[in-house]
């Protein structure tokens, strides 16, 4: 998809979030205020050949001239769809509702199959992405997927409309977060792309890092993050040349099984893929720009107001999806997510080893409860609960002590500042736990304040991670107490 808006960080960003949330691969974003000259925008639009265009701009009753100027740009560009010149390109307008007729007139009837939906920013302080997402699904169904090979056969098998995979994954993750009334982050590490999904306070976001993946995109991870960032996750004895050659070969050959060395490198690049994905996601899952924010005295002492709504302290669950979590052992899978997402406080860690999440996302429309039940029983595997305090304390001091009670027996474990620890807690085991952080460390309730939680076991158990945030100790695989 290609999206457009009047102000890049206001209507442009909202259009971007709507497109990504609907599962789109975003090719470019245009706005009245982007720095490219007019002719360059025209040339770029002509070269893109998207499946769908979405344009926002103006609040309801707001900007007129700038929105019409953007529509004029689209009209002049005469953007052609990917599937050839004989089809009209679906164009969704999700801007100022009061000038729909004028926008339609500027666009003309010749080039575009225009669809009007509610404004993504009806007022500056409110984002309304649902209708734009629905508009994208409808355009996808009517204009895009019908041209895909095999569509005619597939649609006969399904009573439900077909969804893009990423949209279906987003739907099931959102439904799960809603059912458990929790915040979550999901990462899907693919061969060519890395997707990050989040649900925070009921707000869903998705971001996509194209060309960042563990097969086709693996060499690009090294290019984007730098070899040093990959090597920090690898044993120091591994030679740079061997690492580079392994990465290159993972790109050019489609290995069915990986050698131990390839698995080690895969785990390292996966950490960087997720870390890069989260960085991008934080920028997309941001608070609404253009809204006047009242600042308090305490805000003045902060460098800047927090832009993103992603707060790892408030994420109660992280979910990993993709081949890497099937290739890697449970502990390594858990540590890929811990090292790259750096959860704080008490966080559940799960992985999807079944690859049926997209199907469950579509099943939601048929049987909501069944889809969630299959997700819990067949798709998600509990790996671990991670406990990571925030703050600074002296190296070697007790960072967190945990008292666990399970079936009448008690256990006390602790971890020192700078260290990690693994406490066994099996898949079906549930323990009542009291975590006591160091007086200068915080587990979410305040410095030195105890946190009491019922925690579920997993294939790995309980990970006590006292390396601090942001992470500066990298090769630290937690060990169980002897």
């Amino acid at each position: 998809m290609v999206v457009g808006g009047v102000i890049g960080i206001i209507s442009g960003e909202s259009a971007q979030r709507a497109a990504l949330g609907a599962g789109a691969l975003l090719m470019d974003q245009f706005s009245k205020d982007d720095r490219r000259p007019y002719f360059e925008k025209i040339a770029r639009l002509r070269s893109l050949k998207p499946d769908i265009m979405l344009m926002a701009g103006g609040t309801d009753g707001g900007a007129v001239a700038q929105v019409l100027e953007m529509a004029g740009l689209v009209n002049t560009a005469d953007v052609k769809p990917r599937f050839g010149r004989e089809y009209q390109l679906p164009f969704i307008y999700a801007g100022n509702v009061e000038i729909r007729d004028q926008v339609k007139k500027v666009l003309g009837e010749e080039h575009y199959a225009t669809r009007m939906v509610e404004n993504v920013r009806p007022v500056i302080s409110k984002e309304n992405l649902g209708p734009a997402r629905e508009g994208i699904y409808d355009a996808y169904m009517e204009h895009v997927i019908v041209h895909s090979p095999g569509y005619d056969e597939l649609i006969r098998w399904s009573e439900e409309p077909l969804l893009p995979t990423q949209a279906a994954v987003g739907k099931i993750l959102y439904a799960y977060a809603e059912a458990r009334a929790m915040n979550l982050i999901g990462v899907d590490v693919g061969g060519e792309t890395t997707d990050v999904y989040s649900v925070f306070n009921g707000i869903f976001n998705r971001s996509l890092n194209a060309d960042i993946g563990i097969t086709y995109g693996v060499m690009n991870i090294v290019k984007e993050t730098g070899l040093g960032n990959v090597m920090r996750w690898l044993p120091p004895e591994m030679d740079e040349r061997d690492i580079r050659n392994t990465v290159g070969n993972m790109m050019i050959h489609e290995y069915v099984t990986l050698s131990p060395e390839q698995k080690t490198v895969q785990a390292a690049v996966a950490r960087e893929a997720v870390r890069l994905g989260l960085e991008k996601h934080k920028a997309i899952a941001s608070r609404l720009k253009g809204v006047l924010v009242g600042r308090t005295i305490s805000d003045i002492f902060k460098q800047a107001l927090e832009q993103t709504i992603i707060n790892m302290f408030k994420a109660q669950l992280v979910v990993g999806k993709g081949w890497v979590f099937r290739d890697q052992p449970a502990l390594e899978s858990a540590m890929i997510l811990v090292d790259s997402l750096e959860p704080m406080g008490v966080t559940e860690i799960m992985v999807d080893r079944s690859s049926i999440m997209p199907h469950l996302g579509n099943l939601l429309g048929v049987n909501h409860d069944a889809a969630l039940q299959i997700l819990v029983e067949e798709s998600l595997s509990n790996l671990a609960t991670c406990v990571a305090p925030m703050g600074k304390a002296g190296e070697g001091e007790e960072a967190v002590t945990v008292h666990m009670t399970m079936d009448g027996s008690e256990m006390v474990e602790s971890v020192k500042v700078g260290d990690t620890r693994l406490v066994p807690l099996g898949v079906d085991e549930v323990a009542e736990a009291t975590f006591t952080p160091h007086r200068r460390l915080d587990l979410g309730a305040g410095r030195g304040k105890q946190v009491k939680k019922q925690i579920h076991g997993g294939e790995v158990g309980l990970i006590l991670d006292a390396r601090g945030r942001p992470l500066n100790r990298f090769r630290k695989t937690p060990k169980a107490p002897t």
């Binding site: 002719f39 290019k223 392994t246 990465v247 290159g248 050959h253």
Partner: protein
Amino acid sequence: MQSIQLFEDTVVRKERRIPTEGEVLVKPGDTVEPDTVVAKGVVENPDIRELKIYASLGISPDMVKNHMLKTEGDDVNKDEVIAIYRSFFGRSTKVARSPIDGRIESFSSTTGRAIVRGHPIQMMVKAHLPGEVVDVIDGEGAVVETRAAVLQGAFGLGGEAVGELVFAVDSADLPLTSEEIKAEHRGRVVVGGSVVTVDALRAAAKNGVSAVIVGGVDQKDLTEFLGYELGVGVTGGEDFGFTLIITEGFGVNPMDDARFSLLERHEGRLACVDGTTQIRSRIQRPEVVVPL
């Protein structure tokens, strides 16, 4: 691991087309050589510059039209004066020059701006293979057919090249070093063994080698030779002087016996190579075609 293909004797059909409407210079049944031009045409130059002439002259935009020396459609050379403004009885002169060779595509008398576009680019496509034209694509090109031995590589860099197939090593497990690259390899397709060193890559560029086919290359050496990190596996547009085809993969990899012996059997023949690689859903591997 996905198989990389090898054909001892097969019919190769190659589509040769220009990326625009143009003139096709061959017809079905014609015999072509690798350097026969199949089609040619002209494409618009993407190099386009917007000139704020009013700013260069230091006058208001609506005054610019009175000081233009060139108008829409005029050809201009790089640094040629296209507008001039003299003030203070000729004592102060300000000019606007064209930043590129090209043509004035448009001029706005209200905004005082002009757009200069580079000269149109001549496009042509050669047959690349010796063979027979079996089909013509109207206005764009043709399909050339030939019987050939074909060998795919795992990864390549650089585009199409042709040359006589020569061996620089005696065995598939020997490295190709700078010592094996000689002046007589100019314009030839050089076969190495297990790995090509960074010095050998430099020697190949220096000696005008047409292409290098080898089992492997150290990814670190390749990065050093290119001067940048490779990212996604889409190649073919590199321009370092020759085409590189890696048959096995990154690192030291003795060339597969079947591949090495096929090339050995055709030593001295013409090889038509293409390093273009696309590692994605529609995989395209680099190719060595030896017409029989």
